[in-house]
């Protein structure tokens, strides 16, 4: 089952490699990973999308929590949460018809075209991973995808719950 695990950790050298190390050492899966400093620059927040049964997920949270640099670990998928991922996708737009279709599809998905070139458009799209998947496959039907890049999922719990030190 798909899980989103959020980790609050010291923004210190080596902290990220230790967390990634736990996943490789113990044979856990990383589907996506997203990390950046928080509003408090001494802390980083990392979001890992992974999958596994309850026992595996329990071990992942415990093993990550055990790392000295880690302050808190929460499984966001345990409760109500919001999640978003950002995708940049570059598609070939060789004819007027394709350009029109790409623009239309992008509008339907509420994407925005952020770079225009003689032969291609680059579109920015934010949403859940499913939405990005749907957009990419729809786009593939009308235009050739040249390249794409996704940030991986980040998320927050809904309501009062928060990951603070």
């Amino acid at each position: 089952m798909k899980r989103i695990i959020s980790v609050l950790m010291e923004n210190a050298p080596g902290a990220l490699s230790r967390i990634v190390g736990v996943f490789s050492q113990r044979g856990y899966n990383v589907d996506s990973l997203c990390v950046a400093p928080t509003d408090d620059p001494s802390l980083s927040r990392l979001t890992i999308m992974t999958h596994g049964d309850d026992k595996v997920i329990e071990q992942i949270t415990k093993q990550v929590n055990k790392l000295i640099d880690v302050l808190k670990v929460v499984d966001l998928t345990d409760g109500a949460h919001v999640e978003r991922e950002l995708m940049l996708i570059k598609v070939a737009t060789r004819t007027d018809a394709i350009r029109a279709e790409v623009k239309r599809t992008s509008d339907i998905f509420r994407g925005s075209i952020i770079d225009v070139n003689g032969s291609n458009y680059t579109i920015e799209l934010t949403g859940t991973s499913d939405k990005l998947d749907a957009f990419a496959s729809t786009m593939a039907e009308c235009a050739e995808i040249i390249e794409s890049s996704r940030t991986g999922v980040c998320g927050l719990a809904r309501g009062e719950r928060a990951l603070r030190p």
Binding site: S17, E58, L67, I68, D69
Partner: protein, 572 residues
């Protein structure tokens, strides 16, 4: 405020954390630190012959005292040679700090001479690591390293020190931190009261309880409380390989070690129990055998300081996160007002059953007239040391014999590489023990395979006059490998024999020690007596033992805990 060089800071910080011994080997990247060591004598440096042995010595020192062991090595090969030693300490949760030199900051990443990414190499086998980037950060990094190594679940910590920051030419202000509180690291010591109450209710209700005691009870010196709880409950106690000594081997409630080579009574007691009180043990695969057949009737109370150890392999019904010591305090407090007068009566059927299992005498062996059985050597060792020696073991058959046939009276008396199973551990560990306890008898039980993995340390023993006693069970083979080949590979002994054995007596003498060769049973007692009469010399006893002996009992693969072979022909 004191001004000093980075190198002097390293030594000063070691003094401030109370380090007495540093086990190390010099080299380019740490010459400044070695120069600072030369200028003082409160921290004693021990020059080893191989860095792996330095780590095992620090480990033996730590296991026998509870204090953190310290290693100092140079960059590159010096650092990587400690990897096996660090992994050994990590698997057994031993507090250790490894100070490794590093190439100057400006050269890091340039594949400089003797450069390795030590923080990266050691990452999967350390509790934490530091790459110190400024000289002024040295005292804090060292203070934190020792705090992390010896708090919570102990473990090794690496401190990597680039050469430019320990430069003796520059001076910096030295401030040793008064406390090292860390917002991201606060190990839970005390158990949750709700869980304690549940655990107490479960153990009071139990009709067939057993206490399963591991290395965690040794690490926090909870042995006294383990005995107190056992006696209150009148419960049988079994120890893991790492827990031996936490319950005296001579105590009438002790049923022996459990697991793959545990006693029949220990494994039977576990398998038939209705309440397992696991204290600082981690349900390792060498204990549980087939997890799906593990102790089907038991409610499991699992006390461990590491939440990740709880329900990792076997699901715990009553998890209690906390140190064994603090949690036992809480449990004993709860039990203080309880009435135990009926306890003996209540458990009498259980004890009757255990007595029946004991009657199988699973540790009996047949000693002939001449060829010495390895078990007999350990029994003789016990007799000649009054059961009081520190026994450090290598890895293999002799390790199991030393675990089973020497009843340890106290915790920290039995020193072995339980988790990683590191051959070559025994001699340096026994040396670390001897440094920590100069007046005690420190014995290394080893075999002809293991001893040759760190034999060079015989030179270190001479340099520091360490009167370690080496009891080598020489069967001209890698006994444990051979045993498995006999049992599983139809006796095809693929590379498990040693064809050109050195003359160990001459070898010991070449290093300046005493060597004694024992071939026949009738020589054994006199030779042992002679060995221990040399109180100020290292004695290497090369004892020829039966090559065909197997370690029994032994669990049957994929079976339940109590599914065992008792000899080459008997099964449970």
């Amino acid at each position: 405020m004191k001004m000093m060089s980075g190198a002097a800071m390293v030594v000063e910080a070691l003094k401030d954390v109370g380090v007495t011994h540093v086990f190390g080997y010099p080299g380019g990247a740490v010459l400044d630190i070695y120069d600072a060591l030369f200028a003082q004598d409160s921290v004693k440096h021990v020059l080893v012959r191989h860095e792996q042995a330095a780590a095992h010595m620090a480990d033996g020192y730590a296991r026998s005292t509870g204090k953190t062991g310290t290693v100092l090595v140079t960059s590159g090969p010096g650092a990587t040679n400690t990897i096996t030693g660090i992994a050994t300490a990590y698997m057994d949760s031993i507090p250790m700090v490894v100070l490794s030199g590093q190439v100057p900051s400006s050269l890091i990443g340039e594949d400089a001479f003797q450069e390795t990414d030590m923080v990266g190499c050691s990452r999967p086998i350390v509790k934490h690591s530091f790459l110190v980037k400024r000289a002024v950060d040295i005292p804090e990094a060292i203070a934190k390293a020792y705090y992390i190594a010896n708090s919570g679940r102990p473990g090794p910590v690496v401190v990597d020190l680039p050469k430019d920051i320990v430069n003796v030419q520059e001076s910096h202000p030295y401030v040793f931190p008064e406390s090292v509180a860390m917002r991201s690291y606060n190990p839970t010591e005390k158990g949750h009261m709700k869980q304690i109450k549940k655990a107490v209710a479960s153990m009071l209700k139990a009709e067939r309880p057993v206490m399963y005691v591991g290395g965690g009870a040794v690490a926090c010196d909870a042995s006294g409380k383990v005995i107190e709880l056992a006696e209150k409950l009148n419960a049988p106690v079994t120890c893991t390989l790492m827990g031996l000594g936490a319950m005296p081997g001579t105590h009438e409630q002790f049923v022996g070690m459990l697991g793959m080579h545990g006693t029949l009574e220990a494994n039977k007691t576990m398998h038939n129990s209705d309440c397992i009180i696991a204290l600082g043990a981690r349900f390792d695969d060498r204990v549980t055998n087939n997890v799906s057949k593990f102790c089907p009737h038991a409610e499991i109370i699992h006390v461990d300081i590491d939440p990740a150890s709880i329900s990792k392999t076997v699901n715990a019904h009553i998890p209690v996160v906390g140190s064994v010591d603090k949690v036992l305090d809480q449990i004993l407090e709860q039990l203080a007002e309880k009435d135990f007068s009926g306890q003996k009566e209540k458990l009498s059927d259980w004890w009757q059953q255990i007595t029946q299992w004991r009657k199988r005498e699973c540790l009996k062996f047949e000693q002939g007239d001449t060829v010495i059985k390895p078990q007999k050597v350990i029994e003789a060792l016990y007799k000649h040391t009054n059961g009081d020696a520190y026994v450090s073991s290598d890895v293999g058959q002799h390790q199991m014999f030393a675990a089973l046939y020497y009843p340890y009276k106290k915790p920290r008396q039995w020193i072995n590489s339980g988790g990683l199973g590191t051959m070559g551990f025994g001699l340096p560990a026994a040396m670390g023990v001897q440094f920590a306890h100069p007046d005690a008898v420190s014995v290394c039980v080893t075999g002809d395979g293991s001893i040759q993995m760190n034999i060079q340390e015989l030179a270190t023993c001479l340099q520091y006059n360490l009167p370690v006693k080496i009891i080598s069970l020489n069967n001209r083979a890698l006994g444990m490998v051979r045993q498995w080949q006999d049992m599983i590979y139809k006796g095809r002994h693929s590379h498990s024999y040693m064809d050109s054995m050195p003359d160990f007596v001459k070898l010991a003498e070449a290093y300046g020690h005493v060597g004694i060769k024992v071939d026949r049973l009738d020589e054994l007692d006199a030779a042992m007596e002679k060995c221990f009469s040399y109180t100020d010399r290292l004695v290497f006893m090369d004892i020829a033992v039966d090559q065909n002996e197997h370690v029994y009992p032994m669990q049957v693969k994929f079976g339940a805990m109590d599914d065992m072979r008792l000899s080459k022909t008997e099964r449970t």
